[in-house]
């Protein structure tokens, strides 16, 4: 390659970079990217999860997580499966990455396709049923527990893109897309809103699109990194919520 071609090639690339930076500077908040992102599992290949086997073949460890002080989430209706998930928090993501050492993540799910009647609505304090778990970034929960927490007006965060959120989201959920540039500002705002450590121990449910979607896990790790210690990931996400015919809102407002 002669020097003229090398120079022109460099020119094309430099022009591309300049245009990209200008476009990003003027982009709307949901199209804008932070120049340097933080994605802890960027180089970790997730194990391929085969289609869920029929319920009887699932390996279920019928035990309550050792860290729980109170009955496990929806113990009557859900089996507790302890496993390290595909998105296990081997590195901490967030504003204070050095703050926490992640442990294995406990997954609490209902057996697939098993009928799980929602737990009775009582005046029980969500904190009694879903106590803080500072040693784990998040616990995965299924519809019955999510619905119960929703009835208790627990904070819900939608980790999907804002454009998708506007098409439909869990009633009352706030939009917190991990791929948009303002997510760190929103996380800071939430931290300011819940500055008291007792408030940080209140349950927060985070969801995205279910399946192999990891956005909710990434957001949970971000929040866990700044001391929120009672986070729940709705593993099956919004499609499951819709399937159950639960309350959905559309538009920009929660």
């Amino acid at each position: 390659m002669n020097s003229k071609i090398a120079l022109q090639t460099a020119g094309l690339i430099v022009a591309g970079v300049v245009l990209a930076l200008c476009a990003n500077a003027f982009a709307s908040h949901d199209r804008k990217l932070a120049l340097v992102g933080s994605y802890p599992n960027a180089l970790k290949v997730p194990p391929h999860e085969a289609a869920p086997p029929p319920a009887p073949q699932m390996t279920i460890i019928p035990q309550v997580p050792t860290t729980s002080q109170a009955p496990a989430p929806s113990a009557a209706t859900a089996a507790t499966v302890t496993q390290t998930t595909a998105t296990a928090a081997n590195e901490t993501m967030g504003l204070n990455p050095a703050a926490r050492n992640p442990a294995a993540i406990t997954t609490t799910t209902s057996a697939p396709h098993a009928p799980s009647p929602p737990p009775p609505i009582t005046n029980e304090d969500p904190l009694k049923r879903f106590p803080a778990h500072p040693d784990k970034p998040y616990l995965e929960i299924a519809f019955a527990d999510v619905k119960w927490l929703h009835e208790k007006n627990v904070l819900f965060l939608d980790a999907r893109r804002t454009s998708v959120y506007e098409q439909g989201h869990i009633a009352g959920a706030r939009t917190y897309s991990v791929w948009e540039s303002d997510v760190d500002d929103k996380v800071q705002k939430l931290y300011a809103e819940r500055g008291d450590p007792r408030e940080q121990a209140n349950p927060i449910v985070i969801y995205c699109s279910g399946g192999d979607c990891e956005d909710s896990h990434m957001l949970a790790q971000k929040l866990w990194g700044i001391q929120f210690n009672n986070l729940y990931v709705y593993k099956d996400g919004f499609p499951d919520w819709q399937q159950h015919g639960a309350q959905v809102h559309t538009g920009v407002k929660p």
Binding site: M1, K4, I5, Q8, T9, G11, L12, I13, A15, G16, V17, L19, A20, L21, A23, N24, A27, D30, R31, K32, L33, A34, L35, V36, G37, S38, Y39, P40, N41, A42, L43, K44, V45, P46, H48, R161, S177, W179, E180, S181, S209, G211
Partner: protein, 162 residues
């Protein structure tokens, strides 16, 4: 055959087609950088700090290279950039095929299409074949340019009159 392959009629059409493909591929990525960043993340090959900057930069470089080919300006640079991009795509998709990491390639569409693992693996194989096909188009452009250069380098008397 050699003359046919390097014929200007063919070269100009290959140039425009390849340029148009890259312009069309760049537009959805430019329109939605966060989704493209998500696609790059799914490849699990780019270190965390480089994901966003790659997602911002790559589509614009694709667009400029495509436009340069269509307009016939800086052709050598444009085909070099396109060849490098195609090589990167082929290697990246092949590595993920080898690792059985099923992903949407994000080549022409950055929306999550909700495909199954098996569907994605099939798509990835098709994507590699398509990119190899485009690499052949780049090779044709290179061949034609080299032929043209060789023809002009020959002494005037030895040139054959068309």
């Amino acid at each position: 055959m050699k003359r046919l392959l390097a014929h200007p009629w063919l070269t100009i059409r290959v140039q425009i087609a390849l340029g148009a493909i890259f312009v069309i591929a760049a537009l959805p990525k430019i329109a939605d950088p966060p989704s493209f960043a998500h696609m790059i993340y799914n490849y699990r090959l780019v270190p965390s700090p480089l994901i966003n900057i790659s997602a911002l930069m790559m589509p614009w470089v694709e667009l400029l290279a495509g436009l340069a080919l269509i307009l016939g300006a800086w052709k050598a640079a444009a085909r070099t950039v396109i060849a490098i991009l195609l090589a990167v795509f082929i290697v990246a998709i092949s590595i993920n095929l080898f690792r059985d990491n099923a992903i949407d390639c994000g080549c022409f569409n950055v929306a999550d299409r909700g495909k199954t693992h098996e569907q994605r693996i099939v798509d990835m194989k098709v994507d590699v074949l398509r990119d190899l096909g485009m690499m052949l188009l780049v090779a044709q452009l290179w061949w034609a340019a080299a032929e043209e250069k060789r023809r002009f380098a020959e002494p005037p008397g030895s040139r054959s009159v068309a």
